[in-house]
């Protein structure tokens, strides 16, 4: 019974009843606990019905009575077959309470945590579970025609395909960007980021994509723009190389005579996709250009031909010679004009060189002039000084004395000024030094504080990261915990159940042994009875035969009959005794159960309750009268 009680109490606890840990069997259940357990079960089984029930016993007797009655009513509504009254809860007897709680616990829904046999590990399992739950939910939904469907999100807007575009994201405080870039991004030419993409869904998708890319720091850079830049950077040297190659080819092929319009063709051929391949497989441009070169090289020997004519020359059946001549004339004129142009260009270049030379010489001459002027002014000054000295020569001694006085005075003034300067300088210097010292100190302090601040910030960041990590761990652990105890209880239960099953089997074996013993005994009894009957019949017959002849034998027969009768009476009595004994035992059991129910004490208690209710009522009535 202990085991069964423990299992029962465990399931009650799972149903949400607050049963203390030290309560291990139903014998320890008080009225308080019984009510709490029953209310807990009812709250799971009938949430609507049990809304008015409290798991705590109210203090007033009438309120207790009402609670007990409503609990009894709820239990019989659930289909409890036995008789229930309010006293079953308030003065619980162990067997009745066990019956009731077993009945309720059987009806409890199975614990969902116990249902999952597979313990979940990690976040992916949790995600899978969430997906499974959602799919289950969707599967359970019945199909409804679209017209009847409640307005759901997807029905308002038609779904649009995912389409992503890059943004120009202005980045304040970025030091790498040049000020022009900042000016451009801050200016009116760049719209705010959301306005850069007209389509709404595309805007949203692009934002999310951009953010995802930023979060994951793609190796190509954070957006397509950077990829473009990198590509361009990669492309640039190749382009330069191609241009240079094509330029070299052009120079070598034209023998120094530059022709207008040729460079373009050359360039374009360099840009073309087949530039690396031999000429023979080039584009139409290449061909046209080739014709031009050929014609120019011939220009010195033969009358030049228009490039457009070359194809017609190749085909011997050309239509009009007149036009051809005209074209030839034009071509000759063009060539002479080109020569002229070339000549002019060369003369311009020469003139430019001359101008440059002349400018250079002018500069030289100007510098020389400057130098000469400088030396002139110097000499002029020297001359003026000498002139003064010569002027003073006639009255030399007096002038010398005057000069001496002047020199003396100026020396005095210099000394005076120096002392004055010194007077000003010393305090200023001291002040300067003090300020410098203070500044150094402050710098030191601020750097200390900055370092401290940085350390603190790092600490905060680390703590935040730690907290986040722990929170995640906690969530995961809680999810795992949900599955664990159920499993443990399950295994313990199966173990206990197996034990119980084993003991039951043992008992069954014993019972069968006793049964077979009884059967054996019965058989023996039967055999003995039969033997007795037969022996008696034979004896009866023998004695009866002789009884007619002999008187003593008749007497013996009479005795025999009496003996037989007495013996059967004796057996009957023994059997009756056995039955009575059994009955006595039954009755004793019954008495025991009846005393277990504590009917008498319950009755007394009920009477007391009745009295208490009457008293309460009387008090209330008195109060009503007073009022």
């Amino acid at each position: 019974m202990e085991e069964a009680d423990r299992i029962l109490i465990h399931s009650l606890r799972q149903a949400g009843s607050a049963i203390p840990e030290d309560v291990q069997s139903l014998r320890a259940f008080t009225a308080e606990l019984a009510v709490a357990a029953v209310v807990g079960c009812l709250q799971v089984l009938r949430p609507s019905l049990s809304s008015g029930l409290t798991p705590h016993l109210p203090p007033g007797m009438s309120a207790r009575f009402r609670l007990g009655m409503s609990l009894a009513q709820a239990c019989s509504d659930l289909g409890y077959p036995r008789e229930l009254g309010y006293q079953s809860f308030l003065y619980p007897s162990e067997p009745d309470l066990r019956q009731l709680l077993l009945f309720l616990a059987e009806r409890l829904p199975p614990d969902p945590a116990q249902e999952s046999t597979q313990p979940s590990v990690g976040e992916s399992a949790i995600l899978l579970q969430a997906i499974g739950a959602r799919v289950r939910e969707l599967l359970a939904e019945p199909w409804v025609p679209p017209a009847l469907r409640p307005q759901k999100h997807q029905d308002h807007v038609r779904p649009k395909a995912l389409h992503v575009q890059p943004f120009i994201l202005p980045n304040a405080k970025s030091l790498q960007d040049a000020s022009e870039v900042q000016e451009f991004q801050g200016g009116p030419l760049v719209a705010p980021a959301p306005a850069q993409i007209p389509c709404r869904a595309g805007r949203v998708a692009s934002f999310l994509e951009e953010h995802g890319a930023q979060l994951h720091e793609l190796p190509e850079g954070d957006s397509t723009r950077d990829a473009d830049k990198a590509h361009r950077r990669h492309l640039a040297p190749r382009l330069v190389e191609q241009l240079r190659q094509s330029w070299g080819q052009a120079v070598s092929s034209t023998s120094g005579v530059p022709a207008p319009g040729r460079d373009l063709g050359e360039l374009l051929c360099g840009w073309g996709p087949g530039s690396g391949e031999p000429r023979g497989k080039g584009s139409r441009f290449t061909h046209a250009e080739k014709f031009t070169f050929a014609q120019e090289e011939e220009a010195t020997h033969v009358p030049p031909l228009a490039p457009a004519e070359v194809p017609s020359l190749l085909s011997p059946l050309s239509p009009s010679h007149l036009e051809q001549e005209l074209r030839a004339g034009q071509e000759a004129e063009l060539a002479s004009l080109q020569d002229h142009l070339e000549l002019m260009g060369r003369s311009i270049k020469e003139a430019g060189a001359t101008v440059k030379r002349l400018t250079l010489s002018t500069g030289q001459v100007e510098a020389e002039a400057q130098q000469a002027w400088l030396s002139t002014t110097e000499r002029e000054q020297a001359r003026r000084l000498k002139r003064r000295a010569v002027d003073l020569l006639p009255d030399a001694p007096s002038n010398l004395a005057k000069l001496q006085v002047v020199v003396e005075a100026s020396a005095q003034r210099v000394i005076h000024l120096a002392s004055q300067w010194e007077r000003h300088r010393v305090p200023l210097l001291a002040e300067y030094r003090a300020l410098k010292k203070r500044r150094d100190q402050r710098e030191l302090e601020s750097s200390h504080k900055a370092a401290e601040l940085q350390v603190l910030q790092e600490c905060v960041c680390a703590a935040a990261a730690e907290a986040r990590r722990k929170e995640g761990l906690y969530k995961q652990l809680v999810a795992e915990l949900d599955t664990l105890p159920g499993d443990m209880a399950r295994s313990a239960y199966t173990h206990r159940i197996l034990e119980i099953v084993g003991s039951i089997r043992k008992q069954k074996e014993e019972i069968t042994k006793i049964l077979s013993d009884t059967k054996l005994l019965q058989k023996e009894i039967n055999a003995l009875t039969g033997k007795l009957d037969r022996t008696f019949a034979v004896t009866d017959e023998l004695v009866f035969k002789d009884a007619k002849k002999d008187d003593s034998v008749r007497k013996a027969y009479k005795y025999l009959a009496a003996l037989h009768e007495n013996c059967s009476q004796l057996i009957q009595t023994i059997e009756d005794t056995g039955t009575i004994l059994r009955e006595v035992r039954d009755l004793e059991e019954q008495i025991e159960t009846e005393t277990g129910k504590k009917t008498l004490s319950n009755l007394e208690k009920i009477l007391e309750d009745y009295r208490a209710v009457r008293q309460e009522n009387a008090g209330l009535l008195g109060r009503v009268h007073e009022a």
Partner: protein, 195 residues
Amino acid sequence: MELSEYVQRGCQMLADPGCFDLGAFALLLRAAFRSLLEARADEAALDHPDLKHIDPMVLKHSHAALATCILEAGKQKADKSTLSTCLEDCKFDRERIELFCTEYQKNKISLEILLGSIGRCPLLITDVSWRLQYQIKTNQLHKLYRPSYLVTLNVEKEDSVSHPDISFNCTMEQLQDLVGKLKDAAKSLERATQI
């Protein structure tokens, strides 16, 4: 909810009371929601006179960051506590968090609708009708004697656009293949629910 460094920097600028006072913050917040939820984003959203004194670079950066933050919250179905932890990380004070949360709650449904409208979902099949035909011969073969099925899948009609029903012709093996695949799919779905 995780935010990139760019977004965090933008949000930190927003949280700085020296850069944005509360009124400017509210203005910018509303502008961000509007620019996401309206069909045509207003290019002059940031030309409000109360925002004139703020550096346009900072303004645009914060605007973009705020828009990303809102979308990310909508994507994650963030509740209020998640939002406030995330914003506290960006040094938002209580008033701003409160403002953000109320504005987010107000626009949550339209935001969800908007996010739900990205991507396309496959057609919904509501019914199927089929016909069995028996080919006796073709132009190439003199005798064929083979059954073939004409199957039409009825597609759910939406009011705005109607897709034509899907009809095809298949042999018995192909139909069996199709049925097997459908059963497989149903079974995998069943298995997914039992995890």
